[in-house]
Amino acid sequence: MGRFWFIGLAALALLTGCATTSGPVSASGKRITPATLAAAKQRVESEQVPANLRPYYEAMYAEGRENQALHAMRGGIEALRAGQLEAAERLFDLAIEDVDSLVGGEAAARRAQRKFARDQEKWFKGESYERSALFVYRGLAYLIRHDFGNAAACFKRAQLYDITGDDAPGFAGDWYSAEWLLAMAALKQGFPQDAAVALQRAAGFSTRPANATPPQPEMNVLLVVETGRGPIKYRTGQYDEIMRYRAAPSDVQKVDVFRAGDVPQVALPAESLWTQATTRGRRQVDAILAGKARFKEGTESAAAGLALGAVVASHHRHGEVATGVLAGLAILSAGVSAATTPEADIRAWANLPDKIYLAGLTVPAGPATLTVVGRNAAGQVIKQQEVKTSIHEDSPLAVVLVRF
């Protein structure tokens, strides 16, 4: 019986992955020490970060560079929705620094390809739809500042980041909202030709909405309505090596905007982030993760076979040497298998919307009240928000954000 503890150990090693860590962990699954967390909180306190943005800043400071862009994206959109423009710009620019970089995070990216390193330890740069969304939202912030040149640059860059696998060539650079907003920015810059070219490109997208109304130079209000929650990433596969998306749409299927004494205007369902996420095609990182999974399976099978061999050997007289060697190899193989980490990276820009609606309005100067209405598939009003704004005569564009 004394010999069987080897096999017990082998089985234990085979079944044990990483031990559950107690206390706070980063989005990458790393434990955050109390000292690191306390330092992050202190830094946030000293920087007088607004209360609504503190969770994002604390996470950013505590979790290190690999999750900087992740929390900056989440905090940036929160700040933009709350009207904290400077904070939104700062956070989006932090995220862009990492996303745009080809050199930064290279060592972590190389490490992430190894069998025993997790994919989620690389710098977070998001999936294509998250990178494109980052530039769409940064572009909106530039529109609010009336920096139409940089807004246009961001909308162009959103298309640049919408890359797809070789199996989904027709879906690259097909963000309808980016082209529509680019056209708006170009009109405000005084480049109608650029606007026309952008809309011409957009007309060829499979993602274009029906009866799309183009932006006009005289429009001075841009309404942006967000509905639902963006794609939720989850893991599947034998070793959680496959990343998939789950949709979290809103019941709102149509958005109208009313202004006192004016006819209602239908907002354009300009973008579905679910569609963008799920038309990306095959990722090269999937092949890397599949390779890790195959290696894990192979070493796991080897460990089981060796453990079985050790059991058989233990029943033979004078089989101690063989039992010891086989059990040792089984433990080693099981250890290697347990240490192999094929789990897909499912860190996500969790507070993105499911859909983005756009409407351009021409509103006379002075105080204005816009009533934004969200309807379900049956046409019933299920969401409503009144937006009071003031339109200045010399202001080329006011941007109004509504979250349903």
Binding site: V103, Q284, G335, A338
Partner: protein, 200 residues
């Protein structure tokens, strides 16, 4: 025999524990050369690109007889950099940088109008003087320019699931008060980079 198996067990355990519970990396700060390529370089336009283009432009402008050979230093108004590329840039920063480099390289042969710097303050002070709230001081007569220098950034960008390629054209134009184009020069920048397979 049992004792001999301990190292194997230890190795197995070490592998099993690898990758678990490590400390989050700490932020680091270091000084870097502002004219050098950044440690997080991408294919977008960067400060050193504008700086290099501005230096070439300054040398070229000084070679113009209307500028380099003028009896009195002509005054130039530098308009904000226009961005028509696919790379967002801090246009104000670039305008300031461009003016700084041009000033350094034209050493007293050209004067630059800085309306963005003192116009509002001087105008406010003029109103205070007119209202008698402050001493009258000298009569303000703001200078005008002889030439307008514009800078425009254009670009062509392409990306695949393997990498990115970006081409930028920085175009400078010097126009006189009669809208005559005195000088135009262009500087090209092209950058290419591969994306790590884990991000493809």
């Amino acid at each position: 025999m049992i004792m001999k198996a301990y190292p194997l067990f230890a190795i197995g355990l070490a592998f099993a524990m690898a990758g678990c519970a490590t400390r989050a990396p700490q932020p680091q700060v270091k000084y870097v050369n502002p004219g050098a390529q950044g440690g997080v370089a991408g294919t977008g336009i960067e400060s050193q690109d504008i700086g290099a283009a501005a230096q070439k432009a300054a040398a070229s402008i000084l070679a113009l007889p209307q500028i380099g050979g003028a009896p009195n230093p002509p005054t130039i108004l530098l308009t904000p950099v226009t961005n028509r590329s696919a790379s967002p840039v801090d246009t104000e920063l670039y305008t300031v940088k461009l003016r700084g480099i041009l000033m350094q390289n034209t050493a007293g042969k050209v004067r630059f109008l800085a309306r963005d710097v003192g116009w509002d303050t001087s105008k406010h002070e003029e109103n205070l003087r007119a209202a008698g709230e402050v001493q009258p001081g000298v009569v303000r007569k703001a200078a005008t320019y002889d030439y307008l220098l514009t800078a425009e950034l254009r670009g062509i960008s392409a990306a695949t699931n393997k990498g990115r390629s970006e081409y930028f054209l920085v175009a400078f134009k010097l126009v006189d008060m009669h809208d005559i184009l005195l000088w135009e020069n262009q500087y090209e920048i092209k950058k290419e980079g591969n994306v790590s397979p884990v991000y493809r």
